[in-house]
């Protein structure tokens, strides 16, 4: 005997989004007439509007509805909305179910008949499912007010300062010896041409000095346990071989160190650094590190010049990595991006042709604090180029490398053109582009400025850069070969210098990092946000937020905005004190449990404990994440997964097959 419930069914038109394909009136009428549990069924223009929601509230109160089904969009869009309506009407929100007849149906086909039939199945299934649903209460979880921020670039710095200024404690973990990220490497910033260091370093100093920020530089997160409100994180603080408490940051060790290596990080290959070094003079923290891989002492057991000269005995060759355990309530990932490795595009000659430079090399070159003190010169370090080609979309918008647009290259390429004009007024500058993308605030104006400055803009993706001269004027030059697509002619442009505007890539280890934090990477390696439009800050994992270029290629203003937004999301949770978790958890019925322990090893969170004395297993609710693997595996059906019980799902299957059920099965048993 099935119990009789009073179900209210609401079929949404979503304007014409659904009603244009699905005969919503037919669906509503049909379910009202054919499913005995349905008390009332209606169709309505926009169910998510306040009037639509009031309709539900009113029916619950007036008609005594015990269950509610809304057939509309995806539950990922509006489940929360309608659960709220149910609650306001006095119905437990877990007695509500959505049927997705928009994304999964009306938007996926043009076949009206089939779509209407499918909508009936989905609605009927939802009705059958709700009948089996039970009232549930969300689980309150207390929020630890400390926050972990991973990555000390401009996004992470912004988030850290926002939270710390609000009075909450922040652990800022940075992999490199100094915070600052890519922004610290840049010279000027588009479109206003502010000096990057001038606007960034004060913020870095604030971070270094803030009483509410624990800065863990030269450190990496190793283990993440727990869940929103209560994460337990292990951080590896790599050995610097410098005692931070004793180091004054005087820089004598760096000055005296006899060993020099090419700096492939901060100077992007264009310059050298010592083996005991600070990446740059304004580094925060200002302590150096010893690069053990290249240090003469670590290699040969001899040298120790730094130790000899250190006035405070702060060098410690015996220092070891430290593992620190920290407890936080929320985590913000601001792990940034990698620059596309231009050597991968062999036809552009980087690594083979000396006067081909990457964009990051050029940033360092034009920087007054860089290897050439800001002079634009060829690889020989002396000669000044009379002509410069800037090639856009290097590694971007190309299925052989990265398919997407890297968002910032057009603008920084314009900036490069400007800087060449400024430093070498007589030089010819060519920008080779496919499409000029200048969609930010004041960006188009900057493009116009470069048009005025006389940059040659050539529309065409460069085919190759070669040193094989054909004509006398090409001898000794780099020749940029392309099609000028606006005149439809193949052209060869001889220049002295080529700059490759390399794109933005996800971090090489983004997948491992995502896995460490229990979240996902998209196809291109950027972290997946909860919603691409409405929630680009949160992730699918509660309590873990993302900010900056780790979410997708973006410029400084957008990274700053996301950093601040992530801080605000965390602040809001901290202020709430507790967070309500969906009560989708497994539970073991002791009476039915045979003690077989199959579930024990299946649980990915070790949330199932076996009681030797009672010979039964038990789910630790606080650890359970509700995946339901154990429910599916239990041979004695002793485990039930709240809101996804066997009864609910079996009824849903029954309901979804209303039109094809075999005759035999329709007969009473």
């Amino acid at each position: 005997m099935t119990k009789k419930e009073k179900v209210g069914v609401y079929v949404c038109h979503c304007g014409t989004n659904i009603a244009g394909i699905v005969d919503v009136e037919d669906v509503s009428t049909w379910v009202g007439e054919n499913n005995e549990n349905v008390e009332v069924s209606r169709d309505y223009k926009f169910m998510c509007s306040s009037l639509g929601q009031e309709l539900i509230e009113k029916d619950i109160k007036e008609k005594g509805l015990t269950r509610v089904v809304v057939a509309a969009c995806s539950p990922h869009m509006h489940e929360k909305t309608f659960r709220g309506a149910c609650q306001r009407g006095g119905l437990n929100p877990f007695l509500f179910e959505m049927a997705n007849i928009r994304e999964h149906n009306s938007w996926a086909t043009n076949d009206k008949v089939a779509a209407t039939q499918k909508a009936k199945a989905l609605v009927n299934a939802a009705v059958e499912r709700t009948v089996q649903q039970t009232s549930l209460e969300p689980i309150p979880v207390e929020i630890n007010a400390n926050t972990l921020i991973v990555g000390g670039g401009i996004a992470g710095i912004t988030a850290a300062l926002e939270l710390a200024n609000g009075g909450d404690h922040v652990y800022l973990v940075e992999r490199e010896p100094s915070i600052g990220g890519h922004m610290a490497q840049l010279d000027k910033t588009f479109p206003t041409l502010d000096c990057s260091a001038c606007i960034l370093t004060p913020k870095m100093v604030d971070v270094g000095q803030h009483p509410n920020i624990t800065l863990l530089s030269y450190s990496e997160v190793e283990v993440v346990d727990g869940y929103v409100g209560n994460f337990s994180v292990t951080v590896r603080k790599k050995a610097r071989y410098v005692i931070e408490e004793d180091c004054t940051g005087c820089g004598i060790c760096e000055e005296k160190c006899p060993q020099k290596v090419v700096d492939d990080a901060f100077e992007a290959n264009l310059g050298y650094r010592k083996v005991v070094y600070r990446p740059f003079p304004q580094a925060v923290p200002n302590y150096p590190v010893i690069d053990a891989e290249n240090c003469t002492y670590f290699k040969n057991g001899k040298c120790k010049v730094c130790e000899m000269f250190c006035p405070t005995d702060a060098i410690d060759f015996k220092q070891e990595d430290e593992l620190l355990k920290i407890e936080v309530g929320n985590i913000i990932l601001a792990t940034g991006y990698d620059v596309f490795d231009a050597r991968r595009i062999k036809r552009y000659g980087y690594g083979r042709l000396p006067n081909v430079f990457t964009s990051m090399e050029f940033e360092r070159m034009v920087n007054a604090a860089g290897p050439t003190a800001g002079d634009i010169v060829l690889r020989d370090g002396v000669n000044v180029p009379k002509s410069v080609a800037i090639i856009h979309c290097v590694g971007s918008r190309d299925k052989n490398f990265n398919e997407y647009c890297s968002n910032v290259c057009c603008m920084y390429s314009l900036k490069f053109a400007h800087l060449v004009h400024e430093r070498i007024p007589a030089a010819d500058v060519y920008n080779f582009y496919i499409d000029m993308r200048a969609s930010g605030k004041e960006y188009e104006a900057f493009y116009h400025r470069l048009l005025e400055e006389g940059t040659h803009f050539i529309r065409g993706k460069v085919a190759e850069v070669t040193n094989a001269a054909n004509l006398p004027e090409e001898e000794g030059k780099l020749i940029v070969q392309t099609e000028n697509t606006l005149i439809g002619k193949q052209i060869r442009v001889p220049v002295d210098m080529v700059i490759l505007s390399a794109g933005i890539e996800s971090r090489h280890d983004a997948n491992e990092v995502a896995h460490l934090f229990g979240m996902g990477c998209g196809y291109n390696g950027f972290f997946i946000e909860r919603h691409p439009k409405l929630d680009p800050i949160a992730t699918m994992t509660e309590g873990i937020f993302i900010a900056g270029a780790c979410q997708g290629p973006k410029d400084i203003p957008s990274s700053v905005a996301q950093g601040a937004a992530a801080a605000s999301r965390v602040s809001s949770l901290i202020k709430q004190g507790t967070v309500m978790m969906e009560p989708i958890r497994a539970h073991i019925n002791e009476d039915h449990c045979s003690g077989c322990r199959i579930c024990n090893n299946l649980c990915p969170y070790n949330a199932i404990e076996y009681h030797e004395d009672k010979k039964v297993s038990e789910v630790i609710t606080a650890l359970c994440q509700g995946c339901g693997t154990c429910v599916a595996a239990c041979p004695s059906a002793a485990i039930s997964g709240a809101h996804f019980t066997n009864e609910q799902l079996l009824s849903q299957i029954d309901g979804i097959l209303w039109d094809v059920k075999s005759e035999l099965k329709m007969e009473p048993a």
Binding site: S74, E103, A108, Y605, T629, V631
Partner: protein, 156 residues
């Protein structure tokens, strides 16, 4: 006009990847066969073989199980458990005399609406070619109401 056989496929889509892939397919207005009817589960690892058998028994011509790519499971490795169950399930279907291709598995991440849509299209065509399942005749034999040995699957 000759009526084309329209198979009914029940899809079990995991909440985090493949359900969102189907959402994305819709948002991107990718058109695909309307033959798959989706049921949301939190994880593909939640798909109990009895759900699949129930669907086939109740009139579905095929079942699609969709989850996150291996290594991308929201619950660490629920999809791997789904895969192991799926392999056993296929074995069982063979014993029951049901064509293996009636139950299929696909990995579709939240960004792969096109993958899911293409899978639904290809599966629909494959099942259309197989024809209706008719559980009663195929498995129960001649529709005499005798239950064949539908054993609980071995757990993994």
């Amino acid at each position: 006009m000759n009526e084309k056989f329209e198979p009914v496929i029940v899809g079990f889509l995991c909440n985090w990847c493949s359900y969102r892939a189907a959402d994305l397919a819709g948002t991107a207005r990718i058109k695909y066969a309307p033959n798959m009817r989706a049921i949301r589960v939190m994880c593909s690892g939640r798909v109990d073989p009895q759900f699949v058998l129930k669907a086939l028994r109740e009139g579905a011509d095929g079942v699609l199980i969709a989850g996150c790519h291996p290594g991308e499971c929201h619950y660490v490795n629920g999809n791997i458990k789904a895969l192991r169950r799926f392999i056993l399930l296929k074995k069982m279907l063979r014993q029951l005399g049901v064509e293996e291709d009636r139950v299929q598995l696909v990995w579709a991440s939240a960004s792969e609406g096109n993958v899911l849509a293409a899978k639904v299209d290809s599966m629909t065509e494959e099942i259309r070619a197989l024809g209706p399942l008719n559980w009663n005749e195929t498995v129960l034999g001649g529709g005499n109401g005798q239950h064949a040995a539908v054993t609980e699957p071995e757990e993994v």
